[in-house]
């Protein structure tokens, strides 16, 4: 019996690990951002969503909170795709799906919505992540030195609604793969109905004046973009020009442009930049 007690005592010592947390469970922390003009890595959070997805408003709120935490280093993109984005009975008649969004949805096969991707990079074995993995996935990437820097210039004609976009990509170190550039038009401030299951953030089950933001409207160069560089050396600058006439139903003042530099084969994102159209 003594032997048993000794064994149990030794095992207990080996395994007796337990952290009891006492209040306060939350401690206030100050946000910090990059020095203005500093070339930093920016991270793209792409959220698959749909207007009849009851859990999506809560996930979108989290994305907005993360934007507050990470500031300019986080760019948000909302992609309406999948069964829960299909137009339904009033008031859910809007169709915010896009060919690009559907193509990405079919490619990444999220288990459902809301789910999201952080730079389309795998985090703990998954590329498409439940919302609780978004923040740690962003943390893993946001402090890495940037591989590229993107500058976007725009010229918008209010009368013709023609938008000219010039994207300059500077590679900041020698890279050994091939890279594409994707350019998306997004729109914010779109008010329409959204299903909701979380009363603490808005009306449920129907949030009739829900504001949809960062919504993917169109890609200017396909789902995966245009080729821009093969094994670029540090200092290489590639420029690309695009033009589009904004769709009549889009509000120019609420539209933005997102440019993404991505690996041509894995589609993982190296850098992202966002500007307003106006």
């Amino acid at each position: 019996m003594k032997k048993t007690i000794y064994i149990l005592a030794i095992m207990g010592l080996l395994f007796g690990a337990c952290d009891k947390i006492e209040e306060p469970y939350l401690v206030e922390t100050g946000g910090s951002g990059p020095v203005p003009g500093e070339k930093v890595r920016k991270v793209l959070l792409e959220e698959f969503t749909g207007h009849i997805c009851v859990n999506c408003p809560e996930a979108t709120k989290l994305a907005n909170d993360l934007k507050q935490v990470f500031g300019e280093q986080l760019v948000l993109l909302t992609i309406h795709a999948g069964d829960l984005a299909i137009p339904d009975d009033a008031p859910y008649t809007a169709d915010y799906r896009t060919p690009t969004g559907t193509s990405m949805f079919n490619f990444y096969e999220p288990a459902g919505v809301p789910m999201g991707m952080v730079n389309r990079s795998p985090y703990q074995g998954s590329t498409v992540l439940f919302k609780d993995s978004w923040e740690p996935a962003i943390q893993d990437l946001v402090d890495l030195p940037p591989d590229a820097f993107i500058e976007i210039e725009t010229v918008y004609n209010d009368g013709s609604r023609k938008l000219d976009i010039h994207v300059h990509t500077e590679f900041l170190r020698d890279l050994d793969r091939t890279y594409n550039l994707s350019v998306f038009i997004i729109e914010s401030g779109i008010v329409s109905a959204q299903k909701n299951d979380e009363a603490s953030i808005g009306p449920k089950p129907d949030w009739l004046d829900y504001e949809h933001n960062h919504m993917l409207r169109k890609s200017l160069n396909g789902t995966w973009g245009d080729f821009i560089a093969d094994q670029p050396a540090s200092g290489t600058i590639m420029s690309k020009d695009y033009s589009i006439t904004l769709d009549a139903e889009w509000v120019a003042g609420q539209c933005g442009i997102i440019a993404i530099v991505l690996d041509s084969e894995t589609f993982e994102i190296l850098q992202v930049e966002e500007v307003h159209v106006q």
Partner: protein, 566 residues
């Protein structure tokens, strides 16, 4: 794997190089099993399956091969798995193939040592259970080391350390927790000579489990202020259990406790978790009665706090519901709610004796089951703080209070009667109340009340040829409405089986979805090998085993299953 292969090759070379090689080969025994499940998918407009949704993946397969070598006190083995790509409804993260499971085990007197992968359960599993369920695509095996010791008669100790399987992702850089655990079991009647002949048998047990996780910063924005969660790196759980046996009576009870474990599963609340499971049963020839009670409070315990999916469970919370086998009775299966549930189950199995008035020549078996499960009572921790608020204690809960809503209720009765050497009949009635809002996440949908009637008739033409017929009907005014089902199965024992069946959702409120889910199947069995081929539609739903579930999408196509063992 990279490290394992040279070690295995070196080890086997050394073994085979000497005189011992002869013994290693001659005295060894190799056993194994194999299974291939392949599905070819077809478009089906009515089910919403189009070329776009199939996305070119017309053929999908899951398969495994187990090889185990045994030589005296030594065992070693591995399992090869392939998901190319995984069958619809299985997690896409399984796509790929390789050897996720390998082990070597040695028994020396009263010590057994296992290295590599292993499955283990402490008690009822409330604080630790690693297991594999092929039909669910569930595997949380532990890779590490395990030691089992019997230091004294009647005492069994176990200790383990390792990391859990997460699809194909190897453990690296703290991408999941390290699980450590000990368990002790004491058979008092074996330990103390004075109790050896006692009528009452007593078994005591206790477990302690701890998970170390390299936690990352997690922030919360509340009223424009940014906060950081104070998260524990080590989360421990412990449990105590008692089993009493007296004649036909048996009591089995276990209580488990888990310290603060803020996680994605519980919305990052800091309340301690606890669980109680108790079963009192009585059995004698022809009669079995059991009464069970269970309370679960914040007991999801995973080896990664941000995990929301079905993987990385350290513990297992057994359900108090009757497993269903007839197809319409499986439409509304119960999934255990780890964040809180309280319930009871009562079961009676009785065989009316042979040659009695009601029992007839062969006896008649009656099975009754009643289950009723509710949410636990949850009250705010303070005024103005909603229940389950993140970054708080979450809620207060009276241990014995029953909360709302009801999650599940069922009453089943089954009558199994053999009339003569040719004809037997099973009749069953199942009532279910099913909270589809909570269990399947169909927000706002009302409770489903279903009544299911089942008749299963078998007629033997000859000792080897028989025809089985099932007729089932599910009545409900909620969800997808009424269903009818009929099945015919012709058996030429022991080699051939032919089945046709149709499930017809004629009561679906959406006329376009009043569909037939027809299927035809045949199977051939030879020895331990079985080949089955089927064609038909598969309805959308949940597949649950032991309270753990996976979503099954609607499908149409051909399925081939080959299984074998040696």
């Amino acid at each position: 794997m990279k490290n394992l292969i040279p070690v295995l090759i070196t080890g086997l070379t050394l073994i085979f190089s000497g005189a011992q090689a002869q013994n290693f080969v001659n005295n060894g025994k190799v056993t194994g099993s194999f299974q291939f499940d392949g599905q070819y998918y077809m478009e089906d407009d009515k089910l919403g399956i189009t070329d776009s949704t199939l996305d070119g993946k017309l053929f999908r397969m899951n398969g495994f091969g187990n090889i185990i070598y045994t030589n005296g006190n030594f065992r070693a083995g591995f399992r090869y798995e392939a998901y190319l790509p995984p069958i619809a409804g299985y997690n896409a993260k399984y796509e790929g193939h390789g050897i996720p499971y390998y082990f070597a085990e040695y028994q020396f007197k009263n010590i057994q040592i296992t290295v590599g992968n292993f499955y283990e359960q402490f008690g009822n599993g409330l604080v630790l259970r690693s297991y594999e369920e092929w039909t669910l695509g569930y595997d949380n095996s532990i890779r590490g080391a395990r030691v089992k010791i019997q230091p004294y008669k009647g005492i069994a100790l176990k200790g383990l350390i390792g990391t859990q399987r997460y699809y194909w992702e190897p453990y690296a850089n703290g991408n999941r927790g390290i699980v450590k655990g000990i368990d002790a079991e004491f058979y008092l009647n074996d330990m103390f000579n004075g109790m050896a002949d006692a009528k009452t048998k007593i078994i005591l047990g206790g477990s302690f489990v701890s998970n170390y996780e390299k936690v990352k910063d997690k922030t919360l924005v509340r009223d424009t202020v940014i906060y950081k969660y104070v998260l524990p790196s080590n989360v421990a759980a412990y449990a105590g259990r008692l089993q009493l046996i007296y004649g036909g009576f048996q009591f089995n009870g276990e209580y488990a406790y888990k310290i603060n474990n803020p996680s994605a599963m519980n919305n990052y609340i800091y309340k301690n978790g606890e669980s109680l499971l108790a079963t009192l049963s009585y059995s004698r020839k022809g009669l079995g009665i059991s009464l069970s009670g269970k309370r679960i409070d914040n007991m999801s315990y995973k080896s990664r706090s941000s995990e929301l999916g079905e993987a990385l469970d350290i513990n297992y919370l057994p359900p108090l519901t009757n497993p269903q086998f007839y197809s319409l009775a499986t439409i509304y299966p119960y999934a255990t709610q780890p964040n809180g549930e309280i319930g009871i189950q009562a079961k009676v199995n009785y065989t009316i004796p042979k040659r009695s008035k009601l029992g007839g020549k062969y006896g008649t078996r009656i099975e009754l089951n009643y289950s009723n499960i509710f949410n636990i009572d949850k009250q705010p921790v303070a005024e103005g703080i909603p229940v389950d608020s993140t970054g708080t204690l979450g809620y207060k809960s009276d241990f014995f209070a029953i909360g709302q809503p009801k999650y599940f209720e069922s009453f089943d009765v089954l009558l199994n009667k053999k009339f003569n050497s040719k004809f037997k009949m099973i009749l069953s009635y199942v009532y279910q109340a099913y909270n589809i809002d909570v269990i399947e996440g169909h927000t706002g949908e009302p409770m489903v009340y279903a009544n299911i009637a089942i008749a299963d008739l078998t007629y033997k033409f000859t000792p080897t040829k028989s025809l089985r017929m099932e007729v089932q009907h599910l009545f409900t005014e909620q969800d997808r409405g009424d269903w009818a089902m009929a099945l015919l199965e012709f058996n030429i024992a022991p080699k051939w089986f032919f089945t046709v069946f149709d499930e017809y959702n004629y009561g679906n409120p959406d006329k376009d979805m009043q569909l037939h889910y027809y299927s035809a199947a045949m199977a051939f069995v030879q020895g331990t090998s079985r080949i089955a081929l089927s064609y038909g539609r598969q309805r959308e739903g949940l597949l649950c085993v032991g309270g753990v579930c996976r979503a099954v999408p609607a499908a149409n196509g051909v399925t081939l299953t080959i299984s074998s063992s040696f």
